[in-house]
């Protein structure tokens, strides 16, 4: 099963290598990973998506917690949370497909951020599944390039987690 895990870590030299090395060294998989500083400049948040059964996820959770640089680990699976991913998609758009592309962009509330006579570059934010949906509809027109950020997530409700 897919799990989205948020890891609050010390914002220090080598911390990303500790986390990614843990995954590679123990044969856990990482589907996506994003890292950025938080409100507190000496903390970073890593959001990663991984897959595994309960036993593997329990190990991932414990092993992440065991790292000295890790402050908090939250597995959002089964929780109420908001998920957002950003994607940039460069799609072929010539003659009759130009209008069709714009219609799709509209339906998904995406944006065209760069235009050439032969292409559109589309920006979309949303849950990863929504981005998957847009990509499927654009695919027949010829996608030239995709860049996805990997999701970031936040729990719903008034309460925040530190950092």
């Amino acid at each position: 099963m897919k799990h989205t895990i948020s890891v609050l870590v010390e914002n220090e030299f080598g911390v990303l290598a500790r986390v990614s090395g843990l995954f590679s060294g123990r044969g856990f998989n990482i589907e996506s990973l994003s890292v950025a500083p938080t409100l507190e400049p000496d903390l970073s948040r890593i959001t990663l998506v991984t897959r595994g059964d309960d036993r593997i996820l329990e190990q991932i959770n414990k092993q992440l917690n065991k790292l000295i640089s890790t402050i908090k680990v939250i597995d959002f699976t089964g929780e109420e949370y908001v998920e957002r991913e950003l994607a940039l998609i460069k799609v072929s758009a010539e003659a009759e497909s130009r209008a069709e592309a714009l219609r799709i962009v509209d339906i998904f509330r995406a944006k065209v951020v760069d235009v050439t006579p032969k292409s559109y570059t589309i920006e979309i934010t949303g849950a990863s599944a929504k981005i998957d949906g847009l990509i499927e509809l654009l695919r027949p027109m010829g996608i030239k390039e995709i860049v996805r950020s990997g999701p970031v997530v936040m729990g719903r409700g008034a309460k925040g987690t530190a950092g």
Partner: protein
């Protein structure tokens, strides 16, 4: 007071109570060595950085203190890696200080540059690169704290040369605050109550004890738990000295070369209490036939060991001393139930006794050829109870575990998790540094001995009277045994073709060498060695194709042992 980085290092070590370090100099640590020149810290110069790390490891294993190593950048630092990985696998506290090229050169492929934080990330508990001298004292404080608390382990500090010479104000921090590191010491009392209930209901309990027992110094609590509940105890390789092997409740070692009765007990028990052990594959054999009839309670300070390899019915995270102490207290409150338990489990102990009678540990003795097990029994007989025994890795190591009958904590130093040949001699060296007046003996194989034999020089230089027993079969015996049993006796690269004159080797270093192939001489030689001052190497030419038995073949359940005939 303004001090240079290297002075801060030495001052901080002293604040941590370090009086002895092991190491080897070089360009990137020359300033530290200059300050060591008139420091009161004793520095032991080994002949190889790997030797220095194993020596510090041996020192740590027998004292419980943090072992400290200094090595230079590049090759000096990379030479420490096997030693660090060895300590990491066995959870041994140590702090390794490596020199590094000056900070402006880091990343430039400078002379003798190696990315030590990168290289050791997977084999240290934590590591640090100190880029600013103002961070140094705090880093050292944290390194020692991390190394010795929780589940202990090695911590590396990479110290660039420019940081060693830069000055700053020195104040050693009093406290450590690491928001990401707060080991759980106190066991959850509700879980402990449940454990007591489960134990009181058991009919066939077994205590399966690992290296954590020595690391947490909870040997007395374990003994009490075993005795009040009359529960049989089996020890892993790492725990052989953690519970008296001659105790009537002791089943000896379990696993691949475990005793018949330990392996049968684990297979048949209805409650397995894992205490500071980690269900290593050499212990469990085929995992889906391991302790299948048992409910499992797992007590460990490191949550990651719990449910890593086997399902657990009741996890308890905490320090063994705390958890076992509370468990004993809880049980002692219930005298009547305890009595009932002892009665209910009487049949179980009888069954085990029958297994012991049916297949006791033993070997075929001989009057004509030296049996390795016989030498080990003789060494045990002729040494003090508190003698410290180290081993290398191979058949001799397993025979030592099987036949030595350890009785005191921290007297058996062996590389369990990594299985590092070449560990024993430097580890013995470190132990002798820690305890100059105790007997320290390295039980070695002819192959392993040659992996760090250069440390004979260190023994002689520092007048460390380590006694070395080489059980010479002229084979890489353990590998040969596998080849004999599973590869049709095709002895590929396991025959040590060149006979070494170990006596001359010892003498070349200024140590004493003794040697025999006669059974009748064994006792005499051991006595002579123990009476001879300084390091003595004893070479026993043993029966060459002796095997370590029982043995659980790879992929089999631990009850499917090949037994001694």
């Amino acid at each position: 007071m303004e001090l240079t980085g290297s002075q801060i290092l030495l001052e901080s070590l002293q604040k941590e109570g370090v009086d002895t370090v092991f190491g080897y100099p070089g360009g990137a640590v020359i300033n530290i060595y200059d300050d060591l020149y008139d420091s009161s810290i004793e520095h032991i110069l080994t002949r190889h950085e790997q030797g220095a790390v194993h020596a510090a490891d041996g020192y740590a294993r027998c004292t419980g203190k943090v072992g400290v190593i200094i090595a230079t950048s590049g090759p000096g630092a990379t030479n420490t890696v096997t030693g660090i990985a060895t300590a990491y696998m066995d959870s041994i506290p140590m702090v390794i200080i490596t020199g590094q090229v000056p900070t402006p050169l880091i990343g430039n492929d400078a002379f003798q540059e190696a990315d030590m934080c990168g290289i050791t990330r997977p084999c240290t508990k934590h590591n640090f690169l100190v880029k600013d001298v103002r961070d140094l004292a705090r880093t050292i404080k944290e390194a020692f704290y991390i190394a010795r608390t929780g589940r202990p382990g090695p911590v590396l500090i990479d110290l660039p040369k420019d940081v060693q010479v830069t000055k700053c104000k020195f104040k050693y921090p009093e406290t450590v605050s690491l928001r990401g590191y707060k080991p759980t010491y106190s066991g959850n009392s509700r879980q402990i109550d449940k454990a007591a209930k489960m134990l009181l209901r058991a009919r066939r309990p077994v205590l399966y004890v690992g290296g954590g027992i020595n690391l947490s110094a909870s040997n007395a609590e374990l003994l009490k738990l075993a005795e009040i509940t009359q529960s049989p105890v089996t020890t892993t390789l790492m725990a052989m000295s953690g519970f008296p092997q001659d105790h009537p409740l002791c089943l000896g070692m379990l696993g691949m070369h475990g005793t018949f009765y330990a392996n049968m007990s684990v297979t048949d028990c209805d409650l397995l209490i894992a205490i500071g052990a980690r269900f290593d594959d050499r212990v469990t054999g085929r995992i889906d036939s391991f302790a299948q009839k048992a409910k499992v309670i797992h007590i460990d300070i490191d949550p990651t060991t719990i449910k890593k390899n086997v399902a657990v019915d009741l996890p308890i995270v905490g320090d063994l001393k705390d958890v076992l102490g509370k468990l004993c207290d809880k049980l002692s409150e219930q005298a009547e139930s305890l009595q009932k338990l002892v009665k209910n489990t009487a049949k179980w102990r009888e069954t085990i006794e029958e297994w012991k009678q049916a297949h006791p540990m033993g070997y075929e003795s001989s009057d004509t050829i030296i049996k390795p097990q016989f030498v080990i029994e003789k060494v045990r007989e002729l040494t003090d109870d508190n003698a410290i025994i180290s081993t290398e890795v191979g058949q001799h190591q397993m025979w030592t575990a099987q036949f030595f009958q350890f009785s005191q904590p921290r007297t058996f130093l062996t590389s369990g998790g990594l299985g590092t040949m070449g560990f024993g001699l430097p580890a013995a060296l470190g132990a002798q540094v820690a305890f100059p007046d105790r007997q320290v003996i390295d039980i070695s194989g002819d192959g392993s001995f040659q992996m760090n034999s250069q440390e004979l020089a260190t023994l002689v230089q520092y007048k460390l009277p380590v006694k070395i027993v080489i059980l010479n079969n002229n084979y890489l015996g353990m590998v040969r045994q596998w080849q004999q049993m599973f590869f049709d006796r095709r002895y590929s690269q396991t025959v040590m073709e060149l006979p070494i004159d170990f006596v001359k080797l010892a003498e070349a270093y200024g140590a004493t060498g003794l040697q025999t192939s006669k059974v009748a001489d064994v006792e005499k030689i051991i006595k002579q060695a123990l009476e001879t001052p300084g390091p003595v190497l004893m070479e026993f030419k043993i029966s060459r194709e002796e095997n370590v038995l029982p043995m659980v073949p790879a992929g089999k359940g631990i009850h499917e042992m090949v037994l001694a005939s």
